[in-house]
């Protein structure tokens, strides 16, 4: 499978974090693109936005958020979406993404990505919501498979099937988080390759890689470590199927020097290159 001709972003990028911004502006490291956390730039002004503008002048970006609360039974928060839209208008990201999850109900936000039950009811609901969001933003969005630490007793289908159906029925694109698939497979006891078998490959436009932590009896998606070997293996299997999809290194806790992130991105790039050559 070849890369899409209309896509500006290629290769392995890095999640932009505020402590690296100045260094990126000053040194302009050889990184093909950066992913920007939308909610970090919801202020009206100030130095964060000014620096983002400088970074944007040097690199293509994508916008990644946690605030859409796509699965919530609350009405959509159009104030949030309007802020997101104006951010997208100003910084012209390659695309905008959020998660197949909910973070609020009854107007109250817990600020953590909570899983949806894999039921027909939830499927119909979230598909309608994604439709609404895509209409409002005037663009197709990417949805990401979240890491989860519980499953519901009333599930009617496995999570990979739920994820696929949501993407197909709402005609949205996919941000496939390889680490999350690995973490969920381990936590809930299924084969991580189940996700790969179910993925509508043509919709996968971005891949996330991150590090997890092994806690007592489960894996926790900390985004606070190097990518673990089994996740690299699953990544390789993934891009063998999807082709060299733009890939992002995510790191959110205990954020290291930029050089560590660049090195992880280079590892991913080497795998992408290998896939490109053999394609």
């Amino acid at each position: 499978m070849s890369e899409r001709a209309d896509v500006q972003i290629r290769g392995a990028g890095i999640g932009l974090r505020s402590q690296h911004q100045q260094e990126i502006i000053d040194r302009q490291p050889s990184v093909p693109w950066f992913e920007v956390l939308s909610e970090n730039y919801y202020g009206a002004g100030g130095t964060a936005l000014a620096k983002l503008e400088k970074v944007r002048n040097l690199y293509p970006i994508t916008l990644h958020g946690v605030g859409m609360s796509l699965g919530s039974t609350d009405p959509l928060n159009f104030e949030y979406l309007a802020r997101l839209k104006s951010l997208a208008d100003r910084f012209e990201p390659e695309w905008v993404s959020d998660h197949l999850a909910w973070i609020s109900v009854g107007g109250e936000y817990v600020h953590d990505l909570l899983p949806l039950p894999c039921t027909q009811e939830a499927l119909d609901h979230v598909v309608a919501r994604i439709d609404q969001v895509q209409d409002f933003l005037g663009r197709r969005i990417l949805i990401e498979n979240p890491s989860t630490y519980l499953s519901y007793t009333d599930a009617e289908m496995p999570e990979w099937e739920f994820f696929r159906e949501v993407a197909e029925l709402s005609d949205c694109d996919i941000l496939f988080d390889v680490n999350n698939a690995y973490v969920n497979a381990s936590n809930h006891g299924f084969a991580a390759t189940s996700y790969l078998d179910a993925l509508p490959l043509a919709r996968v436009r971005e891949i996330h890689l991150a590090g997890f932590a092994q806690l007592d009896s489960y894996l926790f998606d900390t985004h606070g470590d190097r990518i673990h070997p089994p996740v690299w293996e699953l990544y390789q299997l993934t891009i063998q199927r999807t082709g060299p999809v733009p890939t992002l290194i995510e790191w959110d806790t205990n954020i290291p020097d930029l050089g560590v992130l660049v090195a992880e991105a280079e590892k991913a790039q080497a795998q992408l290159d290998a896939v490109s050559c053999s394609a």
Binding site: N77, H111, L150, D154
Partner: protein
């Protein structure tokens, strides 16, 4: 959607409930699978911990001096109480915590540090100023272009980033000596005197400026939308006081108000 709605309410209540073994957790547990390693309540506990951690981190970053004065453990305990009674109403976590100072005021275990609520107010003002809208300084000459007949109707505005803070404690000093890069003495005499401050941003430069009585009174009057006509009556030294405040950047704009009397 009714089933989904009920499930979401139950889950949120279980996550936000103060009691990790209470009714809310028991009810939600019935909808959650147990796995080899973890019971249903233990699955919920993972989310309870994650959510609590998120709120602690967010407020810890927003209120670093408050946290330093209390110690992290005490601060974290206080956040746990606060988040249970103060739901977050915005998807943007940066909007959360505006009422933290008022909460601290009523928080008995912190009563030994009576200046703490004002320190928290200063930190919230700083947080607001940091991401407030960018503005250019007001050019005083623009005022002279307003026709004489309209002057009485002039209304002045502080910068969008500005907050005024009055405290009976030397909160600016307390804030200053608790900054990471502070290398001087950390001793502050609480009898040093009251503080009247404007916390704001000039360009990208964050500022905490102490105000004299007359400056404070004028800027306070401006936040009350007092028109020039009344200002001139209340402030006999307007002719010098106003340009003085504009020059410091504390007044960012003006407009013409209603012409009624």
């Amino acid at each position: 959607m009714q089933r989904l709605n009920q499930l979401q309410h139950r889950l949120r209540e279980a996550i936000m409930a103060a009691d990790a073994d209470g009714t809310a957790v028991r009810v939600a547990s019935k909808t959650v699978n147990a796995t080899r390693g973890l019971s249903s309540p233990e699955h919920l506990r993972i989310y309870r911990r994650a959510v609590t951690g998120t709120f602690k981190r967010a407020l810890g970053q927003l209120y670093p001096v408050t946290m330093r004065l209390l110690g992290q453990q005490f601060f974290d305990g206080m956040v746990c109480r606060y988040m249970r009674i103060t739901p977050s109403l915005s998807p943007d976590l940066a909007d959360y915590g505006s009422s933290f100072a008022e909460f601290i005021e009523g928080f008995e275990p912190a009563a030994g540090l009576p200046y703490l609520p004002d320190v928290a107010r200063l930190e919230w003002a700083w947080h607001r100023a940091f991401s407030a809208a960018d503005e250019t300084a007001l050019n005083i000459d623009a005022l002279s272009e307003v026709p004489e007949s309209d002057r009485a109707r002039l209304l002045f505005a502080l910068p969008a980033s500005a907050s005024l803070l009055a405290s009976q404690y030397p909160v600016q000093r307390i804030w200053q000596v608790n900054q990471e890069d502070w290398s001087g003495s950390e001793e502050v005499n609480l009898d040093e005197g009251a503080a009247r401050l404007i916390i704001w941003r000039r360009g990208y430069d964050m500022r905490i400026d102490p105000l004299h009585d007359s400056e404070w009174s004028l800027l306070s009057a401006l936040t009350q939308n007092m028109p020039m006509r009344k200002l001139s009556q209340s402030f006999p030294d307007m002719a010098t006081l106003l340009p003085h405040c504009v020059e410091h950047g504390w007044i960012a704009g003006f407009k013409l108000g209603e012409s009624t009397d």
